[in-house]
């Protein structure tokens, strides 16, 4: 049962991922990407990480992708406007992704075969354990990450603010 769900979710994730790249319409791309995120959230659920699954949906599908969709809708991009990329750019893209694939294959060939972690602890992904681990064992990395986000936020506000000296002149 779990195996079939896994295959189904993997199929959906890969299909949506491919369609994200191949869609001509950027808005369709974003919608496929959202589908991909849902499939990945399903994978998290299979790993019994409910909190991670829901937060993944809230943050990626519910917030970031909405902003993406916002921008794309406001810019009103569609197939007709999209320019044909020059041949050089296409070549560069093919070479870059080919190299990336080579690296990935090389890594996977060298890697040790992972032993599948059987459920040693059923409650490992629950919010209680996660909170305990985050605010106890990994307290400093967690706080540093939040400070990093705060910095990014302040920077974004600073960039978005009008330059008063320019407005006055």
């Amino acid at each position: 049962m779990t195996l079939y769900i896994f295959y189904f979710l993997s199929f959906v994730a890969i299909f949506c991922g491919l369609m994200t790249v191949f869609s001509r319409n950027p808005i369709h791309s974003v919608l496929y990407l959202i589908g991909c995120f849902f499939a990945i959230a399903g994978h998290y659920l299979l790993l019994e990480a409910e909190f991670l699954a829901v937060v993944h949906i809230i943050v990626y599908a519910g917030a970031i992708m909405v902003l993406f969709l916002f921008t794309l809708m406001m810019m009103n991009l569609n197939e007709q406007i999209e320019k044909h990329k020059p041949a050089l750019a296409r070549m560069a893209a093919v070479i870059a992704s080919g190299l990336l694939m080579l690296v990935l294959i090389a890594i996977l060939k060298k890697a040790d075969t992972l032993t599948v972690a059987t459920n040693q602890n059923d409650a490992i992904g629950t919010i209680k354990n996660l909170g305990k681990i985050l605010l106890d064992e990994y307290f400093f990395p967690f706080e540093f990450a939040s400070v990093l986000f705060l910095t990014a936020m302040v920077g974004a506000v600073l960039l978005a603010k009008k330059d008063k000296s320019k407005v006055a002149s």
């Binding site: 409910e50 949906i57 969709l69 916002f70 809708m73």
Partner: protein
């Protein structure tokens, strides 16, 4: 997983679905009647005795209208929009505890479809997905007014989601759990004799309740925050191009949202299925009577909040858009952060 479990959950899902639909249906009727009462009119009174069949007549009218589809390259997305909005409106009802434990046929049931331990953030997840129904529908309509309405609705919902999430954190600091069932059980009865204070969270977190209520109004696009459907500026907002039952889905989902958000407010702040004198009922009539009266109590609370939504609609005028954004970002979010700090301090003091 035995077949009994499947039957139990299946029956529960069908019953909750039917009740949700029925209440949403009659909310439209109640809204018109209450509007009539506030404006000193009679209201709909032709279909059936006292107009009781009016929702059926409305539904029939919706179904038989011409189903117009605008000239859009995204027909599929145009149909997907209302469907998605409806689905997300209904999804949240699965985690709400509708009643206490009942004992039937020698088995114990919880009147709840899924008691997951992340119920509160599950609700937020579903709410954040609900934006897509409006956005996709508005965009696929291929109409500037629809798009503007959709963008308005979405930015409003995203802004108020943040304040909503922050206001609930202070409650979660007191509950120590995200399961709605446990939150309900913590608010047992009406007065907590150990702590000599009311057990419902509204008496412990009044500020959080006010913020949550305001945000719930904004999330369901109700007056005074119904900017997305401001007809003087945007015609019909995001559903300008919709007609027939697709429009019906959008309007209907709004009433379902109202019902579900009332249920969530009742569970989080007003004790859910708890009511004064539960101990006495338990001693006199037993566990099933407690559960039955609990369901009745929950629905009374829900109906009060649905009435409250309608009451506010005919009392408070609509905000301007900049006022709405100022209220969300500059008032509600700082207030809820302040509330979190105060709650943390008080919890530490009382320890």
């Amino acid at each position: 997983m035995d077949s009994f479990f499947l039957i139990e959950k299946g029956v529960l899902i069908v019953v909750i679905f039917a009740i949700t639909m029925l209440i949403a249906l009659y909310s439209t009727f109640a809204e018109r009647k209450i509007a009539a009462f506030f404006q000193d009119r009679v209201g709909p009174n032709r279909a059936g005795p006292g107009g009781i069949l009016q929702p059926l007549a409305d539904g029939l009218k919706m179904f038989t209208k011409e189903d117009f589809t605008p000239d859009t390259p995204n027909k599929f997305l145009f149909i997907l929009g209302p469907g998605l909005f409806m689905t997300t409106a209904l999804l949240t009802s699965s985690v709400i505890p509708w009643g206490d434990t009942v004992n039937l046929f020698g088995r114990e049931f919880n009147l709840q479809v899924a008691d997951i331990n992340v119920a509160v953030i599950f609700i937020f997840g579903v709410v954040s997905i609900g934006v897509y129904g409006i956005m996709i529908g508005g965009w696929a309509s291929n109409n500037k007014y629809s798009l503007l309405g959709a963008v308005r609705a979405t930015s409003q919902m995203i802004s108020y989601e943040i304040a909503m999430g922050l206001s609930i954190i202070s409650v979660l600091m007191m509950t120590g759990t995200l399961s709605l069932r446990e939150i309900s059980l913590q608010q047992y009865g009406f007065i907590n004799w150990n702590e000599h204070w009311f057990s419902w969270y509204v008496f412990r977190q009044p500020l959080a309740f006010l913020i949550f209520l305001t945000c719930a109004f904004a999330e369901t696009n109700r007056t005074p925050f119904d900017l997305p459907e401001c007809e003087s500026e945007l015609i019909g907002g995001y559903h300008t191009e919709y007609s027939s039952m697709k429009l019906g889905f959008y309007l209907f989902a709004e009433y379902i949202n109202m019902f579900i958000s009332s249920a969530i407010i009742s569970v989080l702040f007003f004790g859910g299925f708890n009511y004064p004198g539960m101990n006495w009922v338990n001693e006199t009539w037993g566990i099933n009577a407690v559960a039955f009266l609990g369901v009745v109590a929950l629905f009374i609370k829900i109906f009060f909040f649905i009435f409250f939504y309608m009451w506010v609609r005919w009392t408070v005028p609509r905000f301007r858009y900049d006022q709405l954004m100022n209220l969300g970002w500059k008032v509600l979010i700082p207030l809820s952060i302040l509330n979190i700090v105060i709650t943390g301090g008080v919890i530490l003091l009382l320890k």
